[in-house]
Amino acid sequence: MKTETEYKILCEHISKEFIQKGSQRVRVLDDISLNVKQNEFVVILGPGQSGKSTLLRIIAGLEIPTSGRATLDGREVSGPGPDRGLVFQSYMLFPWKTVIGNVELGPKLRGIGKKERREIAQHYIELVGLTGFEKHYPHQLSGGMKQRVGIARAYANNPKVMLLDEPFGQLDAQTRYFMEKETARIWETEKRTVLFVTNNIDEAIFLGDRIISLHGKLPGRMHQVYDVHLPRPREHTDMEFLKLRHDITEASELTL
């Protein structure tokens, strides 16, 4: 049994309630416990409205759990910070900054000097494959490119963990496949601990070392944990891949 500090991320009995207007209490998460090891790629899988984004935001420090706690490297998460890189579903790039301006914002806020942060930003822009687009504005980029900027921006702070909240939800199918491959490539190049939220079973199996699936309806509850032992790079049409896909589909309420 691993001790607490050997897990990178640990969530213990997290529950979250929101109070909506009219003092109505909505329970979004119910007793979630999970752990993530160093450099592991863990996928949280669940249909819409299952609270998975909220779980990610709790780990990011943007929400406070009603009960239970989340820890990073043994220390409790108490607020947002650059040690966790968050990639948003709707990109959330600053439209008034160029690509390189967006990526180097994190280092800039932490007081890193101009020359050094330029180099850092340039390095990560190359990592995500956007060399040559440094001076472009977000509105000139396609959805996939914008999300790559988002990934580079999160990486630029050299975070301990990367949190991705349904990052490819707004992309079309072709771009999505491409971005999944890119994500796998980027992760292999610069390994980090990753917590990836999605509602797409194919995506989960393609990317994850471990898949944690949540129940379909609110409040989100732990359903099943799947270990994915397929070797990388993975093929969507592999027999093992399809078998796992079949198992997950049967067990969950997600439809293909």
Binding site: R57, L62, E63, I64, P80
Partner: protein
Amino acid sequence: MAYEEVKIKTPLLLRVLPVASILAFFGAWQLIISLGIIPTTMLASPSQVISIFIEKLSEPNPDGAVLWVHAWTSIQEAFTGYLLALLIGIPLGLLMGWFSVAEGLARPIFEIIRPIPPIAWIPLTIFWFGIGISGKVFIIWLGGIVPCVINSFAGVRMTNPTLIQMARTYGATDWQIFTKLCIPSALPMVFGALQIALAYCWTTLVAAELLAADTGLGYLITMGRRLAMPDLVVLGMIMVGLTGAVIGVVIDWVEKRLLAGIRR
């Protein structure tokens, strides 16, 4: 910001401050007159304004009519100009948005008229029509027509092109697409114009009355200045603001009733 716990109760201070602020405002206003910091020739205190308000409810002097008559004249003029602006401006804007012939003909004239603030027309209008009602209605109409045309035009231009293509595949004629698709599509923008045009019309009315009238709230304000009666001036100002606000609320209510169910 987003990561704080959602608080249900607003702190007591936040609920008290607005009320305290308003009270302090009126209190300070009353005090600077009562204490003589500002002479009564320059400004009237709230109590003086209230007393002349009560007086004007029945007393036609010194400006020639009771308060109600002034307000009603202003409202009449504003509304006539406003309705005319709507009746002419909205169809014109809608047609311009769809039919290139209409746009080609009307656009140059519109672009010439548009930069001229309606107030600039006042001397010319007085020259043509004199001080009567028709001149004022003309200026108000000019003031209100611009936002009507612009918004209606933009509303039609914003019609979803996919819907237009779909209508064409059904063999709809230009006119049919216009009446059955473009106009309903443009309704939210048109209703937006209603409020804006009203604000323009109301301000233009006040300006017109300030300069050339013998009844109306604007005239009341001017008379107050000429007779060195700041209480009359302030009364006029407050009535102008109040009436404008009330009409705005009425339009808003009409809009909500008519647009109920249509998603903006």
